[in-house]
Amino acid sequence: MSNYQPLDKSKHQELKIKPIHPCVLAKEKGVIPIGLRETVTACAEYPVVFVKDDSTGQFRLVVLVGLRPNQSLFYSSDGWLGKHIPKSARSSPIALTQIASDEHSLIVCVDTDSKMLSKVDGRSLFDDNGAQSDFLNELIADAEDLYADHQLVKPFCDLLLEQNLLSPFSLNVEAEDGSNLELKGLYSIDEAKLNQLDKDMLIKLRDQGALPFVYAMLFSMARIDSLLKRYNEQSR
């Protein structure tokens, strides 16, 4: 579990961060949320789809890293087996959160339950004078980037829904070992509907900068075969 607390110099001055496996968060996750711009890199390696969040029903953009619920074909104790490590899978105890009362201000938080925290070894968050270390600044910049990229997902998704371009699908493949691999509740771009879209709508998608991501998602469907290949190799 995690326990995010606002980062506070007086409370957290002595905290250090141990170098640790960069994808420890992603151990038993079959899907990993990504931001919109990340789609462009992620689509080369993983199927990029939408799934619904269990507790809000809202769409999340994710990469599939397995072919069964909670199965990861990329996690290993030696490290991530893919080239692109989804940003939200890279563990960092630093995250940004919205203040409930004001959706425009963000605060920097630290996960005080994170196994990466230590008072003895690792790199310091604050320097001896109590100022933010360069290391902390880097972590904050990463967190900001992650946050901003995730914020782009909703408008993109709303646009697709408005144009009726998303369709639900289930993934159902048979592996070499005879097992039936199934994932339900996935949503992706409906290519047929995209091809029928009238000109004005297409221009709207282009002007809003959505087209590259639409095509990235479409192309990424070919990665389902790569997942299956990986599964077959791992289960041989």
Binding site: K52, T56, G57, Q58, F59, L161, L166, S167, P168
Partner: protein, 519 residues
């Protein structure tokens, strides 16, 4: 050559309660009135002074289809109408007046009984071990007992894991539909009090006359004026046939009971509790419950009824006011006469047990939209068809409601004894009951497409009340193995389904905050 006035170009709906606005929405959507080029105009005339009846909070699953068809979002509907989910009705103390007499009439069973009827096998096995019919065939009773919702926030709008209808706030519902009809469906609204109507020589209505001075003319008129029946009754004089000798309940006393705690569980069924001279409904909305005692004034005074209702609610009733609503129980001899059609309370009303009124409004609006005559010359054929259909639907509705009383073994008051007196039981009902003493209910008992209540509802009520045929010849029911397998599957399905379902209150909160997706 036909005169141009023969064509039907304008519809005037008088009355802005649930009936008026449901009808306006269904017709406007069907005839695409938001399209400027469309020549068919729909106008609703609503009195700014006469309030709507303001009750009618229970619906049937047909409402899902209706809302989807008229193009409203389920999220908006739930947020604006205080709406909650309804998975059926739970009856208390109807069988007899002992403490443990309760049963469910649910909206969905795991297996479709018209495909393979489990009822006889339940009678020969489960029933003997005390398993209720509802639990033998459905997971919904269990869900209701545990305040579970019928779906999850990840389900799409209007889609159900388990079939459901809604509970809603009647006042807000009319406002919500009104808004949608005017903004999105191209319906016109006139606020005025209708005092009279004009007719032509052949007795067709030509215009309604308002107190405010203007006449509103039209080619087709729909009377949705509630118990008043301004057009079909007062103006056109179509007879009203009372039904008090079959269903004696003619009054209701109602109360709105706010939840004490905003996190209080919300019941996912309508509760119906039998009392000395009638029954009490109890419906959970988002911030309050709506409760009401429906009773017969021949057996109970208003004060007595209010006292009973207050004691049912308990301490929470102390500072709340109660409202008495007189009910006109009966039906018009005809619902469609000349160019005037009555929908809603103006057409017919029987006591609200099993919430039949709103779904018959939906059915009436759907039917008229489908057989709508393009010209006056086609009017009388459509009218005949409609009248026949709704004569049948009301007859069956009366039978079904009356059945609840006939099956009761309560004998604690004169009211309950009178409810079973033979003279008040329609022959059509008695014939069925006699048949069902001999054999299980069959899907062939309900082969008419206009049948208002489904086969399953009769099973739930009859078997919930403990009425099963005396002996079933085992030689006729030879698929016991298959049945047992299905009973096991129902049990497993119950665990599987109910495991993943959120609490009713939790789902309502999620819908209010996030909402269902449309896919």
């Amino acid at each position: 050559m036909k005169k141009s006035s023969d064509k039907i170009n304008s519809i005037v709906i008088v009355g802005g309660g649930s009936a008026g606005w449901i009808t306006a929405c269904i017709l406007a959507k069907k005839f695409d009135c938001s399209d400027q080029a469309n020549r068919l105009q729909i106008t609703v005339v609503e009195s700014p002074d006469i309030p709507i009846v303001g009750v009618g909070e229970g619906t049937w699953p047909t409402m899902r289809r209706t809302l989807e068809a008229i193009g409203v979002s389920e999220n908006d509907f739930i947020r604006n109408c205080q709406a909650t989910f309804k998975q059926g009705t739970q009856f208390f103390d109807w069988k007899n007046n002992s403490q443990n007499s309760r049963y469910f009439n649910l909206f969905s069973s795991i297996f479709d009984p018209s495909d393979f009827n489990l009822a006889p096998y339940w009678m020969m096995s489960g029933a003997k071990e005390g398993l209720s019919y509802a639990d033998a065939v459905s997971a919904q009773g269990y869900a209701c007992e545990n305040f579970l919702a019928p779906k999850r926030i990840t389900s799409k709008a209007f889609e159900a894991h388990q079939s459901y209808a809604y509970h809603l706030d009647a006042g807000r519902f009319s406002e919500f539909l009104k808004d949608h009809a005017i903004k999105n469906l191209g319906v016109n609204l006139t606020l005025a009090n209708v005092v009279d109507a004009q007719t032509c020589e052949e007795g067709y209505l030509t215009a309604v006359v308002t107190r405010e001075g203007s006449n509103i003319s039209g080619d087709f008129f729909i009377d949705c004026t509630g118990f008043k029946s301004l057009l079909i009754g007062e103006k056109l004089g179509v007879n009203f046939n009372e039904l008090g000798d079959i269903l004696p309940n003619d009054r209701a006393v109602t109360m709105q009971v706010p939840y004490q705690d905003p996190n209080q569980e919300i019941a996912c069924v309508t509760k119906s509790t039998a009392r000395e001279a009638g029954w009490i409904w109890d419906i959970g909305l988002q911030t309050r419950r709506g409760v009401g005692y429906v009773y017969s004034s021949s057996f109970l005074t208003d004060d007595q009824a209010e006292q009973t209702l207050r004691s049912y609610v308990g301490l929470e009733a102390d500072n709340l006011s109660a409202r008495v609503i007189p009910m006109k129980v009966g039906r018009r001899e005809k619902f469609w006469h000349k160019n005037c059609l009555a929908i809603g309370l103006s057409a017919a009303f029987i006591e609200p047990l099993e919430a039949s009124a709103i779904f018959l409004i939906e059915a009436a609006a759907n039917m008229v939209s489908d057989i709508f005559p393009a010209s006056r010359s086609a009017m009388s054929l459509s009218a005949d068809m409609f009248n026949q259909s709704f004569d049948f639907r009301w007859t069956r509705t009366i039978d079904f409601i009356k059945m609840h009383y006939v099956l009761s073994q309560r004998s604690d008051t004169d009211y309950w004894l009178a409810a079973r007196e033979l003279s008040g039981i329609p022959d059509s009902l008695q014939a069925k009951l006699d048949l069902w003493e001999q054999r299980p209910i069959s899907k062939y008992d309900f082969s008419d497409i206009n049948e208002p209540f489904p086969f399953e509802s009769y099973q739930y009520v009859l078997y919930g009340m403990g009425r099963v045929p005396k002996d079933l010849p085992a030689t006729m029911y030879t698929k016991a193995n298959m049945a047992n397998e299905r009973f096991q599957q129902v049990k497993r399905a119950r665990e599987l389904i109910c495991d993943g379902l959120p609490k009713h209150r939790e789902l309502i909160n999620q819908v209010c905050q996030f909402g269902f997706q449309s896919i």
